[in-house]
Symmetry: C3
Subunit: 172 residues, 3 copies
């Protein structure tokens, strides 16, 4: 009986392995260029793992050249530019995940996104901005990239970056 | 010995079951009308479970008719109106919990509430606003509804909703 | 074989115990005066434990005399005054941890800090402000005090407090 269960389990495991998407390859296929994670310059770290949850720090829209996308949405930035900034913050988050875990294949599920948009008090399209990050997560991880989310407006972010996004992922 | 321990455990389990409040019934008794959870229109979901934690997305004060309570507290909204909006967001959160879990009786504990209030820069009564949600959680779940909480001010929220509240619950 | 592994495990355990810093003593050595945790005046609590995670409520810069540090950074408060406020919020958080756990030695790791700074829309040095809390955590817990972090700007906080900081810690 034990052996039958073991055999069935193995069969399912093999099936799911066979169907499993290689997330590292997927990132390449999507033409996403991960960036070398910068070291935080203060007494904190980019991510902390506890149990099988990885808590990532708030990430801004850092680019490979070391600069960041800045400006307030509703003032000097459009929704589309905000979306691009949120996508870039997502790329920065993926870069940290890969650096921490060795491979994005260790990600089991994107659990929670807190998307903070630097915007004017009249702006009300924070969800359309944060979609830039959410769409990226689903492009890479498929259904496992779908997450619980808050998308909200901030009056100010560090060095006037356009978005800051923190994320919790379940890992193997 | 083993049997004695098992018997005692069973006895305690029965006692606690006997005393357990039916949260679904409690919601009815309180005259709270849950709303049909709407589907998110983007690449995210209303809630994600990981282990025995359920992370809920930020919920606004959505009403059964599909509209939401809007306006900034300190400007066109009073504290009392903010409190009512936070209660409505709480009803929306309960509705999602029930939809996700099948029954509110699967809730073991409300762990954490992040209550975000759309308000003017001079407003300082965010706790009194978010009490609308906190009081609801305790009305439904009793001591198990008491949670760690932050109640803070935002310069802008999606579509000018009055509050956005996210929540973490421990589930069976 | 089993005994050899047990012996090795024990040896390592002893080593790590021998090297372990007494965090309660460390707080005293640093001249930090913990404050008597005040009871929340609403339907929430200062901290909730679930599994081996302790979620702490947002804490302001409460002082031993019952008053709090107030004022917006970028307006009537400087970065240095903001840093001092964040340190005071950190002391308040440590006070709650000790009250909840009995001893700070039960803290295994500071996991996540959400540092919210009450500031003007033009202010961009939130990280320098929240360092007041982060530096304190590392002063007390060493490498185990290093955490994932977001440091962001808020347009308003309760009673105009200068910072509100919430924290997740892994506990024994």
């Amino acid at each position: 009986m034990k052996y039958i269960i073991a055999a069935i389990t193995l069969a399912f495991a093999n099936t799911s392995l066979a169907q499993k998407v290689d997330y590292d390859k997927k990132v390449e296929e999507l033409g996403i260029q991960l960036i070398a994670p910068t070291k935080p310059i203060a007494n904190y770290v980019k991510a902390v793992r506890t149990g099988n949850l990885l808590f990532l720090s708030g990430h801004g829209p850092s680019k490979a050249d070391g600069t960041s996308i800045t400006g307030k949405v509703g003032a000097e930035m459009t929704i589309e530019e905000g979306y691009a900034a949120a996508k870039q913050a997502g790329i920065s988050l993926l870069s940290t995940m890969k650096a921490e875990l060795g491979s994005l294949n260790k990600v089991k599920r994107v659990v929670k996104v807190l998307g903070m948009v630097n915007c004017t008090p009249e702006f009300g399209d924070q969800p359309k901005v944060i979609n830039g990050c959410s769409d990226l997560m689903v492009a890479v991880f498929g259904d496992k990239g779908k997450h619980a989310r808050s998308a909200v407006g901030m009056n100010a972010l560090p060095n006037n970056i356009t978005v800051e996004i923190e994320i919790i992922v379940e890992v193997e």
